[in-house]
Amino acid sequence: MKAKVLLSLILLCGYLAAPSARADDAAPAATPAVPAACELPPYLLTTESQLHKVADAVTSGKPLEILVVGSRSTTIPFSEDSSYPARMQAILKEKLPPSETVHVSVEIQSKKTAEEAAGTFVKLMEAKTPTLVIWQTGTVDAIRSIDPDDFRGAVTDGVAALQNAGADVVLMNLQYSPRTESMISAPPYLDNMRVVAQEHDIPLFDRFAIMRQWNDQGQFDLFSPSRGPELAKQVHDCIGRALAQFVLDAAHLGPAQQQN
């Protein structure tokens, strides 16, 4: 589809042009440039839905407590500090005023399906009272080929439990994993997460599309069978940056509330 390719090129050009325009009116302060490898067309980080509670917390100067509920792909084995929740915390601290306290905690639900994870949410939310929960799910369900309808029901229940406990919610979908693409069928789970996000008007962080974009554009070779943690660290760094930007945008925190 030529039109789509053309369109993404236009969007990409627009994106490439945008930072330079912004750089002009920004102060010459040491703006930490986004590494070239992390670049993304803006539509992948656009959402219609808003994070009101995050916005309120930041504008009223309350601490921003973020909880990432994830699975094994939330972390890098033996390099916790390089995983995307840690990177997101660092970037948010950079971008928000120094007075703002940002704390990101992680809850790993290893090998749990969405349904099993959602079952723990009521207790989890009693123990921690986050402003924002980023729920990353879908991989275990895809591996076990859980019925997509059941999966959608479980995600719906989980989102409702998190919202009832008074938190903003962001959904994050699967990793793009080209090497296992012939073994794990991601599309039904991606589709159903998109549906739940639409129904509940919550932002969906499309990790799958983002990683695929990086792979297709040659920024990262995700086919690599590399044993070292370097690639994982770089990818998590970029995800952390993208996620931080996504949260700030969805909370409509303009430059006034941002450091840079």
């Binding site: 591996i143 076990r144 997509p148 090497r179 012939s182």
Partner: protein, 423 residues
């Protein structure tokens, strides 16, 4: 995957969409023993069926590879339905045509026996593909240690119990990704004798019962369970509608529908629907367009379910085929052009080429993972895959022509397995 019977001039006339003027008079009236269904006359082979089945095979192959530039040429990016619909419909059409004739001429038992022989061939093909898959996944499991994907490696857990996995695969309950079409086809072919028997009695009632089963599947959430958990990715209870509809068209339904198909109203409804579907598809890739979509419509429409053959997918296929038969008459000279020859050749040996396509997709994944993954490599793999499919189709044709000459003339063209085609 044996090459069961030779190809001769067995044919399909009066396909979905043959306009009234084109319908050849039914020559052998004596043949039409059962009044309920009419079989078209013997004439030339219907190349449109071969063409579109060949096209579906190529598209399925491309869709099974990781996304690349060629993926943008596959129809699933422009609407709801994809190559699977084309494939199942044409398979239903040709199977009903070939075995329906066998049933009228030789009776139920003979026809059923022939169908079962075909089912066996497809089953063996499926097991063959599973073996290749097992080899590939075992290799990946032992060589892949990227810390980014420790979680995804959980998919290899089934290798810890090869005994159970292999038995479940033989029972068609364990089906790796991309290996869903053949089990669906096996189940549909198993039901074919019953479908034909019922069609012989009353075609319209059969189609109505099929629609009823489809509705019941949605209403009561019926499904085929899979191993280790989950369900079949293509629910045969839903997809049978397309197969039976194909059979119904082959056995005279298309001719009866020809006035509807020729009407401009049908054409404009189809065009409007395809344009609307294209727009909806566009919003998946360009979410900015999304807020022009009414929320209520979105809630009603999503998810568009492939497992249970969503009504939107089915109607999208109907609209596509209505336009196709309208604008591509069966005498279109282009069908004989050498440019379409590769597609038609592939379509004429569908089971073999389908299996080859699945194998080539596995091999393509493998090369991308082990050698290099650049876009140029991607394009090269897609193109050489298609060339290999064409080459093998040509070789199979050559074998059959040789077999023809070496005196297998006693074989009966009626049971022509390729026409009833695979996968």
């Amino acid at each position: 995957m044996t090459i069961a019977d030779q190809v001769t001039g067995s044919t399909i006339a009066g396909t979905a969409g043959t306009k009234p003027a084109e319908v050849k008079p039914v020559e052998a009236k004596s043949r039409v023993a059962a009044p309920a269904i009419t079989l078209p006359a013997i004439g030339e082979r219907e190349l449109r069926l071969d063409l579109f089945r060949g096209l579906a095979l190529w598209l399925i192959f491309i869709d099974h590879l990781p996304p690349n530039l060629l993926t943008w040429f596959t129809i699933r990016n422009y609407g709801f339905s994809d190559a699977t619909e084309i494939f199942i419909f044409i398979s239903g059409y040709t199977a009903a045509f070939v075995y329906g004739r066998a049933m009228l001429e030789n009776g139920f038992v003979i026809a059923a026996a022939r169908v079962l022989r075909r089912v066996w061939q497809i089953y063996v093909a499926h097991v063959f593909l599973f073996t290749i898959f097992l080899a590939e996944i075992s290799y990946v499991a032992t060589s892949f240690e990227n810390p980014l994907y420790t979680e995804e490696m959980g998919i290899m857990d089934f290798l810890k119990q090869p005994d159970v996995t292999i038995v479940q695969a033989l029972l068609l309950r364990f089906r790796p990704v991309n290996m869903d079409v053949l089990p669906l086809y096996i189940v549909l072919m198993l039901a074919l004798p019953l479908i034909l028997w019922s069609m012989k009695w009353k075609p319209d009632v059969t189609l109505a019962m099929s629609a009823l089963l489809y509705a019941a599947t949605w209403e009561f959430d019926l499904y085929f369970s899979a191993y280790p958990n989950g369900f079949w990715a293509f629910n045969p209870l839903a997809w049978q509608l397309l197969f039976v509809f194909g059979a119904w068209c082959a056995l005279g339904g298309a001719r009866r529908m020809s006035r509807i198909l020729a009407s401009p109203v049908t054409m404009w409804i189809s065009i409007a629907y395809l344009v609307a579907a294209f727009y909806v598809t566009l919003t998946w890739y360009v979410p900015q367009l999304g807020h022009l979509m009414p929320k209520r419509l979105e809630q009603w429409m999503y998810p568009i379910d492939k497992t249970d053959l969503d009504v939107l997918r089915f109607t999208h296929f109907l609209a596509l085929s209505a336009l196709t038969v309208r604008f591509l008459p069966r005498e279109w000279p282009g069908l004989k052009s050498p440019w379409l020859r590769p597609l038609i050749l592939c379509g004429q040996h569908s089971l073999e080429i389908f299996c080859l396509g699945v194998f080539l997709a596995f091999a393509g994944h493998f090369i991308l993972a082990e050698v290099s993954g650049g876009p140029a490599m991607h394009a090269l793999i897609s193109l050489s895959g298609i060339l290999i499919m064409w080459g093998v189709a040509w070789v199979i044709s050559w074998y059959k022509r040789v077999a023809d000459k070496s005196g297998a003339k006693t074989k009966n063209a009626v049971g022509n397995a390729d026409l009833a085609g695979g996968g």
